[in-house]
């Protein structure tokens, strides 16, 4: 058996160029596909069939607050009404609802039991409905969100 010739130990240099190429390609791909979008959020509404006609969902002592949103011909907001009274804007609506919720809490009821029914014109822009729900479902106080009304229902469309 012949002895194998002794080879000098050599440092194996790995060629890094293809890996760096691929890595940069990946980085550029992820950078280009990045699009920063505002996060989406939900308003959770539980609305079984037959509960949208304005009657309280259970043995409730508090009558529902009725908010009426009327539309102009182009779908923009014409006016807001609450329990038959005109309301100037959504801030005013928030304050009035806050007053009702505070009064309900003062009388021993739970604020979460207060129910609100939205009655909107058919052609009203949906953005106004979201503004109204935002106005009645909570208020921001010193950066904290104070929840107000959770039970929101829709009046059947087409009713007046």
């Amino acid at each position: 058996m012949t002895a194998l010739p002794r080879r000098r130990l050599e440092k194996v240099a790995i060629n890094m160029t293809p890996m760096i190429d691929v890595v940069f390609q990946l980085m550029i791909f992820f950078m280009l596909t990045l699009n920063i979008i505002a996060p989406e959020g939900d308003f959770d509404i539980r609305m079984p069939l037959g509960k949208s006609a304005g009657q309280p969902s259970d043995d409730l002592q508090l009558p529902p607050i009725k908010v009426r949103l009327t539309a102009q011909a182009d779908g923009s907001l014409a006016g807001i009404g609450m329990n038959g009274e005109p309301v100037s804007d959504f801030d005013d609506l928030r304050q009035r609802v806050a007053g009702i919720v505070d009064a309900a809490e003062a009388s021993g009821a739970v604020a979460a039991d207060v129910e609100l029914e939205l009655d909107c014109d058919y052609n009203l822009d949906y953005a106004n409905v979201v503004s109204a729900i935002t106005a009645v479902s909570g208020r921001v106080d010193d950066g904290r969100v104070i929840e107000m009304i959770k039970k929101i229902t829709f009046a059947p469309p087409g009713t007046d």
């Binding site: 240099a13 890094m16 890996m19 760096i20 890595v23 940069f24 990946l26 980085m27 992820f30 950078m31 596909t33 990045l34 699009n35 979008i37 505002a38 996060p39 989406e40 959020g41 939900d42 308003f43 959770d44 509404i45 539980r46 609305m47 079984p48 069939l49 949208s52 949103l69 539309a71 779908g75 909107c120 014109d121 058919y122 052609n123 009203l124 822009d125 949906y126 953005a127 106004n128 409905v129 979201v130 503004s131 729900i133 935002t134 479902s137 909570g138 921001v140 969100v145 829709f154 059947p156 469309p157 087409g158």
Partner: protein, 145 residues
């Protein structure tokens, strides 16, 4: 002191820190990549709200109803008129029931354009109710003031 030379020395750049940083960057971009984009359609401009709370966790069996500004519902890549969505919803309900789940526990995510008619949104909700769905999530863009 005599230093022994090991032959001609090759100058080698140490690539390790650069590769480390590059991998960090790739990881960052991978994480911020939004995978739920399939659900988001640029044809729909959601209304903005400062109180829309981002979903806590993953919704159980969500069904997304996307309503465009001109009153069509985007379903499986096609625009379906509002009054014809009962059939696809029926199929959705059958799929949910076949999986042994209750449609009442499923959440219908309503992604309606801010310019859509409220009446159309209500009609979508009514048809969903008739198919046995009870939970709705009205979706809006969250923008704190």
């Amino acid at each position: 002191m005599i230093r022994r030379s090991n032959g001609p020395a090759t100058v080698e750049n140490d690539m390790t820190p650069m590769i480390d940083v590059t991998f960090q960057l790739i990881t960052f971009f991978m994480f911020v990549l939004n995978f739920s984009e399939a659900e988001q359609d640029e044809r729909i401009q959601l209304p903005v709200s400062q109180l829309a709370k981002p979903a806590e966790g993953v919704l159980e069996t969500p069904i997304t109803m996307q309503l465009t500004a001109d009153g069509g519902v985007l379903y499986a890549g096609e625009v379906v008129p509002v009054d014809q969505i009962d059939r696809p919803l029926q199929q959705e309900r059958e799929i949910i029931e076949a999986a042994g789940k209750d449609p009442k526990q499923a959440t219908v995510i309503v992604r309606a354009d801010g310019r859509a008619s409220t009446g159309d949104v209500q009609q979508v909700i009514r048809i969903c109710q008739e198919e046995g769905f009870e939970r709705f999530a009205l979706r809006a863009l969250y923008k704190p003031e």
